[in-house]
Symmetry: C3
């Protein structure tokens, strides 16, 4: 079970690294930029969670499996795109949803081990799932996608909540984990399939004069 989960974790790292590498390609970064984007997207969320929770050592500090998998995924992406241009967009989205599910559950579990209130555990679950992508978008000078597009973080929120409730009920570990991951996966896949999105909050600029000029 432990091993299975470790493999799932590394799978999530690889998928997130690929999305980072692709974004780097869209910005025409050099190979170093591609590597950084891959590593930051894959490991940024967990690192932020561990640093804020004071949960040391941060996972990848002692186990070089994470960095190696993320780097290989980045190099693999560049080679793949060079050789066979098309990327299977749907396959990538589904893999990403799976990685999201794994990361959310891990994040929530780590937080619960620190005896935190429910609100903090939820935030840590969501943060582990989405913060890597947020840092990726900020480094690429974009407003983070997840603040504007179809349901993404909400899937993490639901999965994290499911995990906490099941834990509270004392179900076996594989049941908590399985059902919580399924929750994230199903919501996310439904959101992709039917373009479900949260309502947006539009606010006109009331006070144009206080607005700063763009760089």
């Amino acid at each position: 079970m432990e091993t299975l989960f470790y493999v799932a974790d590394l799978f999530g790292v690889a998928v997130f690294a690929i999305t980072g590498a692709l974004m780097a390609g869209r910005k025409s970064m050099d190979l170093f930029g591609v590597l950084v984007m891959a590593v930051v997207t894959a490991l940024g969320g967990g690192t932020l969670r561990d640093v804020i929770l004071d949960n040391h050592p941060v996972s990848w500090i002692r186990d070089d499996g994470y960095i190696i998998v993320a780097s290989l995924a980045a190099i693999g992406t560049v080679l793949w795109v060079r050789v066979t241009r098309p990327i299977h967009e749907t396959g990538l989205l589904v893999s990403d949803a799976f990685g999201l599910a794994v990361f959310t559950v891990i994040g929530t579990e780590v937080a619960l081990q620190h005896q935190v209130p429910v609100s903090t555990a939820l935030i840590m679950g969501v943060m582990t799932g989405v913060a890597g992508g947020v840092i990726r978008d900020v480094l690429c000078n974009e407003i983070p996608l997840i603040f504007q597009k179809e349901i993404y973080a909400t899937a993490c929120l639901a999965g994290s909540l499911a995990f906490i409730l099941l834990r509270e009920m004392g179900t076996p570990h594989w049941v908590d984990t399985g059902l919580a991951m399924l929750t994230v996966l199903l919501i996310r896949l439904a959101a992709i399939r039917w373009h479900l999105a949260l309502p947006r909050f539009h606010l006109l600029d009331l006070d144009k004069s206080s607005d700063q000029p763009r760089g």
Copy 2:
């Protein structure tokens, strides 16, 4: 006194969360984005301070009051804008100045408890006051407002310095706190009233060729 200060702290959290939610609205973010912006603006400064000072647990990790207040403020802002469009700009600016005063004093005090030199205590006071807003602006793809607009961080700097000096002189705690907060408030309100700004540093691009293209 403790309780009074805790309430003032939560008031600061609420006000900062409102400015985060409004910025999210200006960028047409969805409801999740609004929540994230509110929480990050309200708690980002204190979190950064605690992580750098190794002052664990970070305030909101164990006490869910912070997250709840920030979330309610965000939801309240959306509802408020939906129902009665106008936002009382001046009221918001004055509340923000008050929140800034509270955060600056808390940040300086936490730093002093770690026996740091004066320069570090000053930075921690200013960071607690302004870093949440800086992260908010970066996530919204804007150059942080406080690097360009009227006096804001300078008010924190003065208040933080006043707090350190009064502490050194051994005045009672409520005097340090009160006078330091008043310092921040008065400078900030004066800056708003008379549009006081620091001089700017204009530098022409000497070397256009090394400039990168915009994303």
Copy 3:
């Protein structure tokens, strides 16, 4: 030797602070913005490394030499530009390369003291050298220069690797340090001289519709 290295470290801080202040000037920031940019560029990389490694206290928290040098460098830059406009671009680039060399070696050494695998030590060496500049660029709403321009981080990577290998071989400390710094310096100076760059990864937007609107 210790003293020599401390002076070199402060020299690196001063040079990095100057590049931060110049960038602030290009964005017409006010004097507070100039100070923040200087401090963040000079100390951001080391701070991030220490926070992730749980290596507390962060260098500048207890020793106010760092903040003072960075602030003086920022003020000096503004005065210099006001009085004699031209900045010696080449001199700055060479100094920057020297600072990069010092920071890379320090970062790698700190990581090795925490008994981490080689991949982590390399990342920490590179991060100490380049993360300050990345944060500077993000705060200025630019895609970090080092992801797109001529060889920079790769010089850190090579120097960090050289340091680790020499350490493994048990050469005297001044030899490790000297040769590793020389590695960074020579690669970086060659990159500046002959405009060496890594290949870029260009990826056309396959899926324009999923692209978010700017600002």
